[in-house]
């Protein structure tokens, strides 16, 4: 039995021998100290670093379109379901994501007949996604870096679990903040 007496890698969780410069598994630096452990009294910091994305998921926001569906159909669904974002799957594989923003910036006002515009032609291809066990800080970083307001949550077999939105994160953090 391996005795866990070393340093746990903050990135991949691998146990390392105490005093190593970097994690043997993922090369994450193990030299910096202090910042990695959230203060116990800092609720926001604790939630950001320890709470997995899966805790915030409702599975309610999950819409899936095919690349050949028309934008007219998506617009109708968005209106009816009050949704802002749809994942695009082709043969059980995530190929894109389509949000209100894509519709506004790429077709609104240019195209008159939205039933002739396909989802494929304006979707954002190969979107960034997260796994359900990723910490909240991870999805916050993705949103900040890419300017995304929605990030799909995909399990390891490629199945969609949910879409996590920037609003889910905000409302969770503000609830945390107020205890």
């Amino acid at each position: 039995m391996p005795i866990s007496k070393g340093v746990k890698c903050p990135s991949c969780g691998c146990d390392n021998i105490l005093g190593m410069d970097r994690c043997a598994q993922c090369l994450h630096s193990l030299m910096h100290t202090g910042v990695l452990i959230p203060r116990r009294d800092d609720r926001v910091q604790n939630v950001m670093m320890n709470k997995p994305v899966s805790d915030l998921l409702t599975g309610k926001d999950l819409l899936v379109a095919s690349p050949t569906d028309s934008i007219a159909k998506v617009v109708e669904i968005f209106q009816k379901e009050k949704k802002n974002c749809v994942l695009v799957y082709d043969n059980h594989r995530l190929v894109g994501i389509l949000s209100n923003r894509d519709i506004l910036l790429k077709v609104a006002g240019y195209k008159t007949d939205l039933s002739k515009v396909s989802v494929e032609s304006i979707m954002t291809r190969n979107p960034e996604y997260v796994r359900p066990d990723a910490p909240l800080a991870f999805v916050v970083n993705k949103m900040a870096m890419g300017g995304f307001r929605q990030v799909p949550v995909i399990d390891s077999s490629g199945k969609p679990l949910s879409i996590i939105t920037i609003k889910d994160v905000m409302s969770h953090l503000s609830k945390t903040k107020n205890g």
């Binding site: 910042v35 950001m48 970083n141 390891s156 920037i166 503000s174």
Partner: protein
């Protein structure tokens, strides 16, 4: 190392300190077509509608898809008929924590900012807030592997 907790810093930080100077605004008399042009040119998902510097509404991408495209509304109508009237506003002196609450509860993407005279002076977008949050995690977050479940096949290369 900072001594204050993230929680405290969020509660103390003023919106004015984090804000992005970009503001997309227009008057309520413009047409939908002009509004779409402005949004597309600025790549913005919103327009703050203000007459004589007073906020009268906000027009967003959600309004575009749900009210205009879905109902095939003619684009020469005025924006004032379709905007969300009298939106919630904040002051640049309010805190980031306060803005997070408002965005989380009411589910807004953009909140217009007004000064003491009630004049429009900026906009706070949810993406500005999330960037502010991400700044607390420079080392930890940026060094996360591209896939959170990524596992290297061997301990050492070669």
């Amino acid at each position: 190392m900072a001594t204050k907790s993230v929680e405290t810093r969020i509660k103390e930080k003023k919106i004015a300190e984090v804000i992005n100077p970009k503001l997309v605004r227009a008057e309520s008399t413009i047409t939908l077509r002009q509004a779409l042009d402005i949004m597309q040119k600025n790549k913005s998902g919103y327009i703050v509608v203000a007459d004589a510097n007073k906020v009268v509404g906000i027009f967003t991408e959600v309004d575009v898809t749900r009210k205009i495209l879905a109902n095939r509304v003619k684009l020469d109508l005025r924006i004032s008929e379709f905007m969300t009237k009298n939106p919630s506003v904040l002051s640049p002196q309010d805190t980031v924590g306060h803005a997070m609450e408002l965005m989380g509860d009411k589910r807004f993407y953009h909140i217009p900012l007004v000064n003491q005279e009630n004049d429009l002076c900026g906009v706070l977008s949810v993406r500005t807030l999330i960037r502010f949050m991400a700044e607390f995690y420079p080392t930890e977050v940026f060094n996360l592997p591209p896939n959170s479940d990524q596992v290297m096949e061997s301990q050492e290369g070669g």
